[in-house]
């Protein structure tokens, strides 16, 4: 024990509390959460928004604010976990805020009881917030204001419905919302460059496979599979005009060559390194072609035309695009999967990949610095950001945020460039687009009905007369379908047309049956989904929903559509 290194500093109290999530989004993700301030504009039964906040307070966002002018009623106590009997008659915003704050002393909570109409009229009312959640039902003019704010200030906006067994949410993020740290599955994303090895890797392979046939069994069974494949590829190339296996047939033939070269009749049975080599053939002999998502980034106007205030993402993307144009490959990520090998050989192989990755990074970094100078930027992009980009260059993702539908009384829904594709998928079996349309029709009903008089609370369908309201909402939904087909310049033949109408009618009926009520389970489930998406958007990690998600709690199915 005497030769052990000195005792370590154990994890901090915060690291202990957040251990299970830090293993997913790390310290940088956590920091981003802690810097966020989330506004919930609450209405209706008000559960889904609070269940969303619960899952954000627990992992430790910086602050939240609840805007809600409702007064706590008896019905709230039957559905909302963050209210108690003593709160009856008090402000819902205040009491839900206090009980949510109890979940995590690290989080700041605030509340606003002023009605949303006058609250939004104040100048800069939305300025403090880094993300906004709106729970339906809401007035279209208010939702429009928020949508305009999301567009102009680039603050992400989430709009949620939770009605009976159904829910929906749409996300409006910036028109260019890039993610570098997408957390791809390491098993399916290994990039070993076997078809285009560089001199150091070729030399390493030559050393490790020198006299392969004559090796002792122990040596032979410990040659890393990367070297085995490169070695047999060299032999293959000699007989195939310098070409690596091109198609499935050739790859299978090559795989047989590798497989036959394994030694058999060994005491331990099989050679694991040869097994690994054989298993890797089909997936590692493809030229490292960037995905369509990456090419889309390269072709984006933000990448092609840089200016003084271009964000660092696009400057790095531009530099990597330059690298790609020059070398016809992306920078090497540099990671090597575990494989049967002696420790020293494996570490050496790892270093061959790491050095190449560092060299590629160096080239990209040089371009970045050059671009920064040319653009006269006053802030320097940290090297670690360039490094992270190079490591994950093949898996970066660009989400093109756009405003979601805000239903205006008496105006028909515009689907624009999405009309054709939505109209096509409308009739797919199990399509949830009819349910999305039912939600739009629900909003149109809300936009045209008041509880009492002109400035009263919005009236939702099914509160008192589900049958009559169901008929009205179905009529609205059918009109939305017909408008969609018209805009797409297409039509649906019978019996599909009648089927879609029947389905839509059923979704509407089920939606109206709830009379605007939330079911706690559906609110909790949807709050889980929305909070997860908010975490992705704030941390800029993983891949967020683009841009609308529907959940059907009758069939327990979900769908994501871009509208």
């Amino acid at each position: 024990m005497a030769d052990l290194p000195p005792p370590v500093q154990g994890p901090t109290a915060k690291e202990k509390k957040y251990d299970r999530q830090l293993r997913l989004w790390g310290a940088t993700g956590q920091r981003a959460l802690e810097e966020s301030h989330i506004l919930l504009i609450n209405s209706g039964p008000g559960v889904v928004g609070l269940e969303t906040l619960k899952n954000l307070v627990l992992p430790g966002i910086g602050s939240f604010t609840i805007q809600d002018s409702a007064v706590v009623s008896e019905a709230d106590l039957g559905i909302n976990f963050f209210l108690e009997e003593d709160h009856l008659g008090g402000f819902r915003a205040q009491h839900t805020c206090n009980l949510l704050k109890e979940l995590n002393p690290d989080v700041q909570g605030n509340f606003i009881t002023e009605p949303i109409e006058t609250f939004l009229d104040q100048p800069n009312a939305l300025k403090p917030y880094s993300l906004i959640i709106v729970a339906a039902p809401t007035r279209p003019e208010l939702l429009s204001k928020l949508s305009v704010h999301a567009t102009s200030s680039l603050v992400p906006l989430f709009y949620i419905h939770s009605v009976g067994f159904y829910s929906h949410f749409s996300v409006h993020v910036a028109p260019a919302f890039p993610i570098v740290d997408t957390h791809p599955n390491p098993e399916t994303t290994t990039d070993l460059r076997l078809v285009s090895p560089w001199p150091e890797l070729i030399q390493f392979t030559a050393e490790k496979t020198n006299g392969l046939e004559a090796m002792s069994n122990d040596d032979h069974g410990h040659v890393p599979y990367v070297c085995l494949l490169l070695h047999y590829l060299e032999e293959w190339k000699k007989e195939h005009g310098g070409q690596v296996p091109q198609n499935y047939k050739e790859k299978t033939a090559f795989r047989n060559i590798v497989s036959k070269a394994a030694r058999t009749n060994l005491p331990e049975g099989v050679e694991e390194n040869y097994d690994e080599a054989v298993a890797a053939v089909l997936k590692s002999l493809n030229p490292p072609e960037p995905s369509s998502a990456v090419k889309e980034v390269f072709k984006a106007k933000e990448c092609l035309v840089l200016s003084e205030d271009t964000s660092s993402f696009w400057i790095i993307a531009h530099a990597i695009q330059m690298f790609y144009t020059k070398h016809n490959v992306l920078p090497l990520p540099g990671s090597v999967p575990d494989m049967k090998a002696r420790s020293a050989d494996y570490i050496q192989l790892q270093n061959v990949y790491k050095s190449k990755a560092r060299k590629d990074l160096g080239e990209v970094l040089e371009s970045v610095r050059y671009l920064e100078k040319n653009l006269k930027r006053d802030t320097v992009i940290p090297e670690r950001d360039v490094e992270a980009f190079c490591k994950n260059a093949a898996h970066i993702k660009l989400v093109r945020g756009r405003p979601f539908h805000v239903v205006q009384a008496g105006e028909s829904i515009k689907w624009d460039d999405r009309a054709k594709s939505i109209a096509q998928t409308l009739t797919f079996p199990d399509s949830l687009i009819p349910l999305y349309i039912a939600f739009l029709a629900f909003d149109e009903f809300v936009a045209t009905h008041n509880k009492d008089g002109l400035r009263g609370a919005p009236k939702v369908p099914g509160e008192t007369d589900p049958e009559a309201d169901s008929e009205k909402v179905t009529g609205i939904a059918f009109k939305i379908i017909d408008d969609l087909l018209k805009e797409a310049g297409t039509f649906v033949e019978e019996p599909d047309y009648s089927d879609v109408k029947t389905q839509t009618g059923e979704f509407v009926q089920e939606l109206v049956r709830a009379g605007g009520a939330e079911l706690h389970n559906i609110a909790a489930l949807t709050g889980g989904l929305v909070s997860q998406e908010i975490i992705k958007v704030i941390t800029e990690q993983y891949i967020p929903v683009d841009n609308t998600c529907i959940f059907d709690g009758v069939k327990s199915k979900s769908a994501v559509i871009r509208v």
Binding site: R20, F81, T182, R513, A524
Partner: protein, 435 residues
């Protein structure tokens, strides 16, 4: 179930239904998918408040909240665990001051206080402590258990309880599990639909790193940590029982692993990684737990009220798979019952074996087979006992069989029965010799 739980409690009567205004819209109205025979109203409300329901496991906080706010009035909860500080990022009924207390007790008290009129009965212990009589009292069981052993145990118990003469003996099991951004919710109607044992191969264990890699050729930081955990501790601290919750123990392992990693030039050993490997930590977040637990409770609510079709109805979907790291993706499908399932089927499963491998090797391989995952198997043929783990006298008697080759012990195509005390499951395999 005859204890009339609802009526004796406050807020259970008609006068207080204003609290359940929202829920009642669904309970009092037909929908387009409700059964034509279904009668909404009084009887459904009454049935819901009388149904005794059991919740268990790591999703317990979410499950209790959801059931209480779904109108269930008589809820029982089983959890053997005490509260750890690392639970606080998702298990929202617990506070820092509760660390060290029993989860079941704290959770029950909290939800009873918050949702008036609901009775929550905690049991702090293992689900395996309870017998069939205990489970017979419930209308259904909702669980989000962390361990596969516990899941298999409750599944086998509930399948074993089914008595064709008594329809009340079939207890729906609603099971949820999460790992990071992924999870699943499934409904099992014991003996009628695919059971947890039928679905076992969907949750295959991770392949263990071979011992020789740990001992002689480590390449990854994890190999160094496993070496410290499995080999160094045994060699140097055999007399101390390893407690993975003891920071001193983790620190010792960390330092051992770090030193070994330095010897082999392996970068990347950290304290946090050491903890993760040694305790087999699975990432867990509030959002996924909320999604999966709510999906389970939504099914429980539909089963209890018939307000809509539910998962697990024979010949329909019974399994929802959830993935949330890349957009949102769910896959809801019908997992088919396996006729050779060792719990709910009765056919022997054919298994290819190498006739030259020893009985010992064969038994070891059962631990890694995705559909078996047995750690302490006992094996016999119709005629003879091949190997018994217990009792010691029988173990001693059958031990000489371990080094024998399979073809010395059984004939090609012979059936064997394999038990593991952990699972109440008997596996029937038909051993087919590889040619």
């Amino acid at each position: 179930m005859a204890e009339a739980a609802g009526s004796g409690l406050p807020n259970g009567g008609e006068s207080q239904r204003s609290r359940w205004k929202y829920l009642d819209n669904i309970l009092n109205r037909r929908g387009p998918f409700t059964d034509p025979e279904w009668q909404p109203g009084e009887a459904v409300i009454e049935g819901l408040s009388r149904a005794k329901i059991l919740g268990a496991g790591g999703l317990g906080c979410e499950i209790l909240k959801n059931l209480a706010l779904s109108g269930f009035k008589d809820i029982h909860v089983i959890d053997m665990d005490t509260i750890d500080v690392s639970n606080l990022n998702r298990q929202f009924l617990f506070r820092h001051a509760d660390v060290g207390k029993y989860k079941a007790e704290v959770a029950a008290k909290f939800v009873e206080k918050r949702v008036k009129g609901v009775k929550i009965t905690p049991y702090c212990g293992k689900i395996q402590d309870k017998d069939e009589d205990y489970y017979m009292q419930f209308a259904m069981i909702v669980c989000g258990l962390d361990s596969i052993e516990a899941r298999r145990w409750i599944n086998a118990t509930l399948v074993g309880m089914v008595d064709d003469e008594n329809p009340d003996s079939m207890k729906p099991l609603i099971d949820g599990g999460t790992e990071g951004f992924k999870g699943q919710a499934r409904v099992i109607f014991p003996t009628m639909t695919s059971c947890i044992e039928c679905q076992l191969d969907m949750h295959a264990p991770r392949a263990a790193v071979p011992l020789c890699t740990l001992a002689t050729i480590p390449r990854q930081p994890q190999h160094c940590i496993e070496w410290a955990h499995i080999i160094a501790w045994e060699e140097e601290r055999k007399e101390i029982t390893l407690d993975t919750d003891d920071p001193e123990h983790i620190t010792w392992l960390y330092q051992k692993a770090l030193k070994r990693a330095q010897e082999f030039n392996i970068p990347g050993v950290t304290y946090s990684m050491t903890q993760g490997v040694v305790k087999n930590i699975i990432p867990a977040i509030a959002s996924t737990n909320a999604i999966v637990a709510a999906s389970c409770c939504n099914e429980a609510y539909k089963i209890a009220t018939n307000t809509n079709p539910f998962l697990g109805f024979p010949e329909t979907d019974n399994y929802m798979m959830y993935t949330g790291d890349e957009s949102i993706y769910t896959y809801t499908f019908q997992h088919m019952k396996k006729p050779d399932c060792p719990v709910c089927g009765n056919l022997a499963r054919p298994l290819q074996v190498n006739p030259n491998s020893t009985l010992h090797e064969f038994l070891e391989s059962l631990a890694e087979r995705p559909e078996a995952q047995l750690k302490k198997p006992t094996i016999r043929t119709e005629e003879k006992s091949l190997y018994y783990q217990f009792p010691p006298s029988l173990e001693e008697q059958t031990r000489p069989n371990l080094p024998k080759k399979l073809n010395e012990l059984v004939s090609d195509g012979e059936e064997v029965a394999i038990d593991d005390p952990a699972f109440q499951v008997q596996f029937k395999y038909k051993l087919v010799f590889q040619k």
